[in-house]
């Protein structure tokens, strides 16, 4: 009878604890003569075939979901997300102008960049920080990732069509591309990227 009560106590303590408990810690809550180890073994046996198991890890005890049911706890949710037009435009500017600072993106777009946009692009793993520019304020520059290339089926960023190609493809109707010498800009000197892993360049 006593054994049942002691087992209940161990069960509750282990259930409610936010960390694995050693048998010494459990002993603190039980009468001295209680043979904790044997109670724990019995409890372990009781839970052996249930949805939850009692496991001993590094000399401590804890409840854990049965390993064969672990899949239940991992839910994959595929979410289709659409980018806002502002985000797509920003992505385009980053891809054509990289490495580019936030201020430059804002200048090119003519509007300030709301905070969420870069976050979304980084969440999509299309954009990454590329190190700081050696100019006053040392602004962070951004560029595209390898994932960006993979997603759009490009071998390198140079595979992005140039402006004249865009015009030829009918993207740029009625625009004199000779006045859009945006791709020929001299690139400012970048410091080494502070983050490892380079986008295909």
């Amino acid at each position: 009878m006593e054994t049942i009560e002691h087992t209940r106590i161990i069960e509750a303590l282990l259930f409610a604890s936010d960390k694995p408990l050693s048998s010494i810690a459990l002993a603190d809550c039980l009468p001295e003569e209680v043979k904790i180890e044997s109670l724990l073994r019995n409890l372990q046996e009781h839970y052996e075939k249930r949805g939850v198991n009692l496991v001993e890890i590094a000399g401590k005890w804890m409840f854990q979901t049965a390993p064969d049911l672990a899949f239940l706890l991992r839910k994959e949710v595929e979410e289709d997300k659409r980018l806002s037009r502002a985000a797509v435009e920003t992505l385009a500017i980053i891809s054509y102008h990289q490495p580019v600072t936030r201020a430059e993106i804002e200048e090119i777009r003519g509007v300030s960049l709301s905070k969420g946009i870069l976050d979304v692009l980084m969440e999509a793993v299309w954009v990454r920080p590329m190190g700081r520019r050696r100019t006053p304020g040392r602004p962070m520059t951004y560029g595209t990732t390898e994932n960006f290339l993979v997603h759009f089926g490009l071998n390198s960023i140079k595979d992005l069509p140039g402006l004249s190609e865009l015009k030829a493809a009918g993207f740029l109707a009625n625009v004199n591309t000779s006045r859009l010498n945006l791709l020929g800009d001299d690139k400012p000197i970048e410091e080494q990227p502070e983050l490892p892993g380079s986008a295909g360049e």
Binding site: A16, L73, L83, L91, A92, S95, H151, L166, F171, L172
Partner: protein
């Protein structure tokens, strides 16, 4: 919150104090308002709240108010309001009921007060019962190491290369339009012409061909046109304001201009 506890404690102290008919030393800080005091006083009658004597309660409350320090009560106007109301109720209860046009009889008012006290008492009992329930994280516990369902959100962003390029091209197109600059054309402004004409007309003695006032001749053709046009407009402007006279003797003939300096 420990002071709340002492308040609760003081409630019982008052009870015993009243019971033994000792001198009341009450601190209104110990109460949460007149209704709270009334309930504490009512409980001292040691009867079911349904049978409390309103008259006795009124007496007790008025005594409480009288005994409480004046400055403290001034801060708590509701005690004085309650005291006034209870004094009124008392007088109504004591006097024979007139065939009054008052809304409620004294008995109804007393019953209403009793009801309020009973209700407050009942909700206090209920709140005690509620708080004595087993509370989560106090008496009962949930799983200490929850294994949350890990929702791996595979955010699939829908964007085709076409869309990317489309947007970029649209942006460029928009920008190109915004970039169109209308070059400032070289013109001889009306202001310049007026100034020149005003300055030079005084030098001329008599009727002078307007084209004599043309600035230096080494000018581009379109500039010459601009200067002529502006000088002509300026001459008309001066004539209109009475500063000069202009004469043209034949169609397409030379324009003569002179200063009007005669004092008419």
């Amino acid at each position: 919150m420990s002071d709340k506890e002492t308040k609760e404690q003081s409630e019982f102290d008052i009870g015993t104090a009243l019971d033994s008919d000792a001198v009341l030393i009450l601190d209104i800080d110990g109460f949460e308002g007149p209704l709270d005091v009334l309930l504490a006083l009512a409980r001292t009658q040691k009867v079911d709240l349904k049978q409390i004597s309103i008259l006795e309660l009124v007496q007790q409350f008025l005594k409480f108010v009288a005994d409480a320090k004046v400055q403290k009560l001034e801060k708590a106007a509701d005690y004085l309001v309650m005291a006034a109301w209870l004094a009124y109720l008392k007088s109504r209860l004591l006097l024979p009921e007139e065939n009054s046009e008052e809304e409620f009889s004294a008995e109804e008012m007393a019953a209403r007060l009793t009801y309020q006290l009973q209700r407050l008492s009942a909700i206090r009992d209920s709140s005690a019962r509620l708080m004595s329930r087993n509370q989560l994280r106090r008496d009962v516990f949930a799983r200490g190491m929850p294994e949350p369902v890990i929702v791996t959100k595979n955010a699939v962003f829908e964007l085709s290369l076409y869309d990317l390029l489309r947007v970029y091209a649209d942006h460029k197109t928009r920008n190109a339009i915004a970039d169109i600059r209308i070059h400032k054309r070289d013109v001889y402004t009306l202001d310049q012409a007026l100034e020149r004409l005003k300055g030079m007309i005084g030098l001329a003695v008599d009727w002078t061909d307007l084209y004599q006032f043309l600035p230096d001749s080494n000018m581009a053709d379109n500039m010459k046109r601009s200067v002529k046009a502006s000088l002509f407009t300026a001459s008309l402007e001066m004539a209109r304001s009475g500063k000069a006279e202009i004469v043209q003797k034949q169609a397409f003939g030379p324009l003569f201009i002179r200063k009007t300096d005669r004092k008419d």
